[in-house]
Each structure stands twice: as C-alpha cells, then as structure tokens.
Amino acid sequence: MTAAQVRGALTIEPRAVERIASAAATEVHRRGHRPEEGAVVIRRPRRTVPAVLVAAVLLAVAVLVIWSSVQVLLGQQPVVPFADVAAAPAALTPAEPLVLAAAALCALVGLVLVVVAVVPGAPTVLALATPAEPASRLTAGVTRRSLIRTLSRAAAVDGVDAAKVRLARRRVVVTARTPYRTAQPDLTDQVRTAVTARLADIGLARPVTVAVRLEQPRRTRQDRAAPTSTTVVGST
C-alpha cells in the first residue's frame, strides 16, 4: 500500500493520515531495499592502497617539479631538465616504438585504475538478518574478517587441529585438518554442525550452505609415517 493509497482510502483527521502515510512509506521503503531480507548494512573495501600509491606518485612528481623550478629560478642546472622535457614532444612522433610502448603502458595503467575504482570488491561487512519486529530499527552487519575467524574457531571441534574457512557468496567452505589417520567417520558432520550452529547464532541475511573438507594424513601405507597430508574426504 503506498502513501497515496492510504491517504485516499482514509478520511480521518489530517494528522493521523499523515502519521499512517509516513508509516506506510517507511514500510514500503524498508521492503524496497531488502534484496534478501532485512535492511542491509554493507561496507566495501576503501581502496586505500591504490589511493596511497597514486597519491604518493603525484606527490613525488610535484616535489620534482617544485625542486626543478626553484633551481631554474636560482640559475642552477635543474634535476629535471625543463627545456629538454618541453622539446621532447615536438621531436617525437606517435609512430616511434618507444612512444607507442609508453602510450600502451599509460593506457594500461589508466585501465587498471578505472577497474580498481569501479569494481566494488568483496564486501568487508556482511549483512545480518533484521529481526521480524519492525519496532527495532537496528540494522546490523558483521565484518567479513571476524566472521571467518569465528567460524574457523567454531570448526575446531575435538579431533580437528586447525580449520580454514573460505567465504563465497552463498557458500562457506571449511577445510578442517585432523592429525588422525583414522578420524571418526562423523567428524565431517561434527564440524558442519558446529559451524552451522555458529552461523545460526550470528544470523546472516543471506543464507549460506556449509561445505566441509577434511584433510588427514594418508591412510594407506601406514608404516610410512610421512607427515604429508592429503584430502581424503570430499566436500559435501
């Protein structure tokens, strides 16, 4: 029901209509931006590293230019020979291989920068489901890094040495390492149960499936106590 419909359908005192209409608008809005369920808190990478790199290059160029022009003004030989730099473009033609290569490099760097700027990147904050009652206007998210950390900790059930967690869009892939050549047959299930329970407590907005891979020492040729570990049980 839109705000206009509410207004049309009801003939009560104006202020009440206003209130209902705004509540309806809020509701519509709330539904509007719930692509999965619940409002979404997300945070994407800030691109700090490329920004710092590019800014540092620009700063270095600026320092060189200032330094050279001051040297020129003082009548010294500048570090960057302005006269030669100014004369170069007039002497060079685009057909020269060196110029072509430089142009290609320039375009490539530009393309990389554009891609870095445009591609949103994996979210660093993942949305949590919003509880059903609309009274709580608290939308929540969890940082990706901490989610991985807590899930790998949850996966370390008895019999598991260490667990690695990989987050895909709709899948959590747990790689659990066990030191036992003959691990309990249900170890995979135990890990999956533990991780699923932790996920249920956290309550992600987007449901994920849990896949568990078990890494354990080679079973055959037991005399060879080599520490090489191979994946024996496939994912589920």
């Binding site: 920004a51 700063l59 060189l64 022009s69 100014a86 142009a103 206007r137 969890v142 019999g159 598991v160």
Partner: protein, 195 residues
C-alpha cells in the same frame, strides 16, 4: 532515504579520484596509440606529439613552481584523507521547551561517545565506538562493536535496541533514530582451543 551503508570514508573520495585519473591516463594513452598506429584518419602517425613550444620566458619557472605546489598540496590532502575514517562530527542546536528555556549546542560526538560507553559496558562487548551522522532532522547512528568470543549476537542486538537506542533518542530529543551496527566477532585473541 538512501541505501543503508555503513559510513566508510574515504572510500568515495578514493573511488572518484582513482576513476578520474584512470580515465585521463586511459584517454591519453589510447589517443597516442590510435594516432601512432594510424587508426585516426586525418592525423598522420608522423606528426609531432605536440607542436613545439615557444621557449618559455622567465615566468615559466614560476608557473611550474605554482602548479607543482598546487599538485603537491592536493596529493598531500588525499594522502591525509586516508587517516580520517569517520564522518565529521557536527553540532546540533537543541531548543529548550517552555519550562526550560534556552538552547543547547550539542556536538554529535558527545552523544556518540555516551552511547558507545553504554554499549561497551554490556556483557560480552569488548570495545564499542559510535558515530552520529546526518542532520538534526534525519540522524542516523552507526555503532562499531567488537564482541568477545561466544557472546550471543542476538542478545546484544536486543539490548542495544531496547536500552541504548531509546536512551539516545531521549537524550537527542528525536523520535526516529535509525541505527546501523557493525559487529566484529571473536575480538579476543588468545583463547584458542587447545586439543
């Protein structure tokens, strides 16, 4: 209203500047490549890159110094912006009522600090920071909370919704205060499970 995004400066600045510089480099490189490979009709690949400049007079060095200084300051500004990861604080004027005349200037950071202190005292919370963003008419609060191992996420959210946010709404004299919470789970290292 806008999409619910956790505040994330200087992400937007970085993206715009990187895109602008990238497009500039891409255009320049592509143009020279096109001319050099003879793809552009009308411009032969043997024309000079630029017409030869008249030898610059005395002001050339001054102009270069000025341009360099401007570029350098802008680059520095961009670099320093990386350190500011919070939205800037603002100051609200809270009007008094008929019983309590006068008005109060409230820096939003003070209100944010108060709720952050409340939340960080909750059980299972390691640290909490808060930012109050937006104008007085449409404020939003962003909470960053680090949670200890095995604290219940649901309980924490309930407590924030039922205690901290109503308090803040009362303090700020606002009816609606949408809130965004960003959680860091398992903040405490060192309690690794030993088999």
């Amino acid at each position: 209203m806008s999409t619910v995004r956790a505040p994330n400066p200087p992400s937007r600045l970085n993206r715009s500047l990187l895109a602008a510089l990238g497009l500039l480099l891409l255009a320049a490189g592509a143009a020279v490549l096109a001319v050099g490979l003879g793809l552009l009709p009308g411009v032969g690949p043997d024309t000079a890159l630029l017409p030869s400049l008249p030898t610059t007079a005395g002001w050339g060095a001054y102009a270069a110094a000025a341009a360099g200084t401007l570029l350098g300051l802008l680059a520095l500004r961009w670099l320093l912006a990386q350190a500011h990861r919070r939205p800037p604080e603002s100051i609200w004027q809270l009007d008094g009522s008929s019983t309590t005349p006068g008005s109060t200037a409230l820096p939003t950071s003070a209100a944010a600090t108060a709720i952050a202190r409340d939340v960080s005292a909750y059980r299972g919370v390691d640290t909490a920071t808060a930012t109050l963003a937006g104008a007085r008419s449409a404020p939003t609060v962003h909470l960053d909370v680090a949670v200890e191992t095995h604290a219940s996420v649901a309980d924490l959210r309930d407590r924030i919704t039922e205690e901290a946010l109503p308090q803040l709404r009362t303090a700020l004299q606002v009816d609606r205060l949408p809130a965004q919470l960003v959680l860091r789970l398992d903040a405490h290292e060192g309690t690794r499970r030993v088999r």
